[in-house]
Symmetry: C2
């Protein structure tokens, strides 16, 4: 039986006195964490929660978030980590979808959410758990987290668990309006722990920094593996370059997961060289490949291994990895193209790239990425039809478009939904965006298809310019014409101050398309 | 879904042209092996076999044995690797127990088995598959393996598989008369592949030598992991010191699994220093710890890492590992006691040591080893009661007696059934044996309990003396008295020429007890 509790119970047995968490000035040992997790589990059960009930968590990174991951699991409950960047609409949808009995939130979040608390109750939330130090003011009607722990038994409740039981519901912003709750089981997350162990060669890790948000599996990919290895979790409440650099120095951090934008921010941070970053052994990054120049610079500044992971919540999340050796080889052999790939399928996970008829495409041809393995989700909460559609034929259909090279490296080309069909030709939006990014005045760019009487869809670029820089529509179109086939060149360019973004800083082209669809007053995108 | 076929399909996709098998002068590439495995699967299916049917294999080590492991799996059949050391009684029992439709055997085995072929048919075997080169004489009525492959389709049949489907039945000589068929599934063996990958740090392995018999999971612990890593399998037909040393030199072998007796034989082999063993990176050994002096000598001669695994067929098989670091640390820090332990539980497997009431014992106390994990067998074939007994409470009851030390190292003390209760005191037979082994004239020793009117059981030592050496009963008893508490000293010593042994060279005390039970004419042991 695959039981995710094993990732905590094992090091508790092996190294009970060793530190497991460093949060601000607090240090917890494995036996202390185990006791707090057991108390939390018993405390939640004492509130009347039953196996399978959901516990929503909305919080910045801290040791209590880690305790909540384990505490819900040890109580047989399902955690629902919510995105701190969500708007009211998304919260309302997710909460009415999963109906958590308990909603855990910290002081920072509470300040923002105060006006809506009554509405949350209306959505079925019965209890609020306030995450904070004992002495802090606990809002009326809320349960103090530390008090709940104090009053509960310190014994592991050791409930019966089946490997297909839910550990969590992870909401993912789909391309279609409402977020979907990805159901991940003990088996899914335990198998990802094995996969991360092997693919990222977790072994000499001592201290892992939670710098990316803990509600997201980009950071969560490593969480259970770090514990399993008897490592230490360090935390910064939210990503902030100065805070991250300070934490690396203070806690002697050995590994961290970042998204490329965050690496960028660290590189651009004035005085990055003031910090002692010599403890760093590896930076894992994901969500997207990095521009080669930035990567080279990062490797120079941070002087550690770089590993890129590609995956998605539905795969719990790891699918492919561009290993540290791949990075070194690419630079040593002058084959930098590999650095723009997502790496190769990790051991344990099968990947196919197929055409519209479900046939494997040849090397260099583009198709949809399908994934199979013990890590693939049980399904979407409350969505049997979308589950069946996504998992048809026993493979998870990612809607990512990609191609293989001769050596089995996978290149993500675009989201299937972001592909534009214009005048009968397929255009991958990312290809056009890459050209736009090369223009010195462009800070951010998103390319979408908009309704057009002649072309069905016409290519539109939506661009944010760098501060103090300028460029005209004609100039950018001319720039594209120099680097792209004529049919790939945008027909129009709009300039905006900001692009819509998701939890990890990804530009949400779906939201953009929706805006333009409304603006054009059409059902077609 | 956990699918053991993945261990072959993955490297076929990643490195199709690389070698996977070296057997005599033959080298097979991954795509060649994949084709042969697919042909074998289709060939077996063309004989009318259906999902779940058993295929018995009785053969010395060779690439065809590897093909049979994969070929049966790709056809949805269950392999039943039989022990080449078995006698007629055990064969008869196992075959009538599992009723294989096909019996695969090689020329060497055939020579021994010829007189019994008709009786095998009587036991339900319908077809015989003769493993040999095409040109060799195939006995009448038998199917030539190579011809079967030639006539079958080279396409992977890609049948539907469930992770709980059987991959094989592995007969294990229990302590109670007849062997039991351990049912191992895709999930069990795939999880062991993950475990071996992590615990043995399989990564830089290139060439693994099958020196121990392939029908046994001591060797099989690494088989699927080697393939999964894109490594090379090299083979010697059976363990022979000269052949093994030659093979290491010839194939530039990097890793091998041996049992301590085999390491001993290699060390004692005249002219071991003539061979170029510089390619060796690690020796995995198991079935029992090694005497510290021999281990030190082995580390000096082979100049590579040593890793000890403890496990059993029911656990597919790995449970604990004494890592290479453990070995180095023990020697560097002068803490050689650790070398007599079985190491610590591997990541993914839970181990408890419990008393007769099922309570965890404290450090230093002896109890039975219980094991839980995704690697634990589905059960014993045709034996629901013994299955329930062995797996009661969700834990596999190993019948191994052991104790923990403060650092979580596990020391196997004895088999539960080998423990002697004499005058109300527990005596662990191995402790007495270890003392006997220290006597210069003793080659082998087995200590058992025999019926006794006063003591219920009295301690008897059965001893094989070294050639040219002599010792009397009184002398050995006196030797024991100097090193053991009085109640642990044997009451009598018998001298024999040979002790009964199992497939891996383990002394079968169960057989010995049975002999004495008959001799004493009692039902008590």
């Amino acid at each position: 039986m695959l039981d995710l509790r094993h990732t905590l119970r094992r090091p508790v047995r092996m190294t009970p006195k060793e530190p497991v968490a460093r949060c601000g000035d607090l240090t917890l040992s494995y036996e202390q964490l185990y006791e707090r997790v057991s108390r939390l589990a018993n405390g939640l059960l004492s509130l009347g929660l039953e196996k399978g009930d959901r516990v929503a968590v909305l919080a910045l990174n801290c040791h209590r978030f880690l305790e909540l991951y384990y505490g819900t699991m040890f109580a047989g409950l399902a955690i629902v980590p919510l995105n701190v960047r969500w708007g009211a609409q998304e919260f309302a949808f997710a909460l009415s979808d999963c109906r958590p009995k308990v909603f855990a939130l910290d002081a920072t979040v509470y300040e923002h959410l105060k006006p809506y608390i009554e509405q949350l109750k209306f959505l079925g939330v019965e209890r609020f758990l306030f995450l904070g130090e004992e002495q802090e003011g606990v809002p009326e009607g809320m349960i103090a987290y530390e008090k709940l722990l104090q009053s509960a038994s310190p014994e592991d409740p050791d409930i019966d668990v089946h490997e297909e039981d839910l550990v969590g519901l992870f909401y993912t912003s789909g391309t279609t309006g409402n977020p979907k709750g990805v159901m991940l089981t003990h088996k899914n997350l335990m198998m990802n722990a094995y996969h991360a162990q092997i693919a990222f060669e977790f072994r000499d890790e001592r201290t892992y920094l939670h710098a990316a948000p803990m509600f997201h599996l980009a950071d969560g990919a490593a969480t259970f593996t770090v514990t399993w290895n008897g490592g230490i979790h360090a935390f910064v409440p939210r990503f902030d370059p100065e805070a991250v650099l300070k934490a690396i120095e203070r806690y002697r951090v050995t590994s961290v997961t970042l998204i490329p934008t965050m690496i960028n921010w660290l590189l651009n941070h004035p005085g990055v060289e003031r910090f002692d970053l010599s403890s760093l052994q590896k930076i894992m990054y994901g969500a997207s490949p990095m521009p080669v120049d930035r990567l080279k610079e990062a490797m120079k500044v941070f002087r550690c291994k770089f590993q890129q992971g590609y995956g998605m919540t539905e795969a719990a999340p790891l699918v492919t990895v561009l290993t540290a050796e791949d990075h070194e080889r690419a630079l040593a052999e002058g084959r930098e193209g590999i650095l723009s790939s997502a790496g190769r399928p990790i051991a344990g996970v099968e990947v196919r790239v197929v055409d519209d008829e479900g046939r494997d495409v040849g090397v260099g041809e583009t198709g949809e990425v399908l994934v199979r393995g013990p890590n693939i989700m049980k399904g979407y909460w409350n969505r049997p039809e979308e589950t069946q559609e996504a998992l048809r034929g026993g493979w998870y259909h990612t809607k990512d478009m990609a191609r293989w090279d001769e050596e089995g490296y996978l290149y993500i080309v675009d989201r299937k939904d972001d592909m534009i069909i214009t005048g009968g030709e397929n255009v991958y939006s990312t290809e056009v965006e890459e050209v736009l990014y090369r223009h010195p005045a462009v800070l951010e760019a998103a390319v979408i298809g908009v309704p057009d009487p002649d072309w069905i869809q016409a290519i539109k670029a939506v661009v944010v310019l760098k501060e103090g820089q300028s460029a005209t529509e004609r100039e950018l179109i001319e720039h594209c014409r120099q680097h792209l086939s004529p049919y790939k060149v945008p027909k129009s360019v709009d300039f905006v101050k900001e692009l819509p973004k998701g939890g990890t800083g990804k530009i949400l082209k779906s939201v953009l398309r929706e805006e333009y669809r409304r603006r054009y007053g059409s059902q077609e995108s």
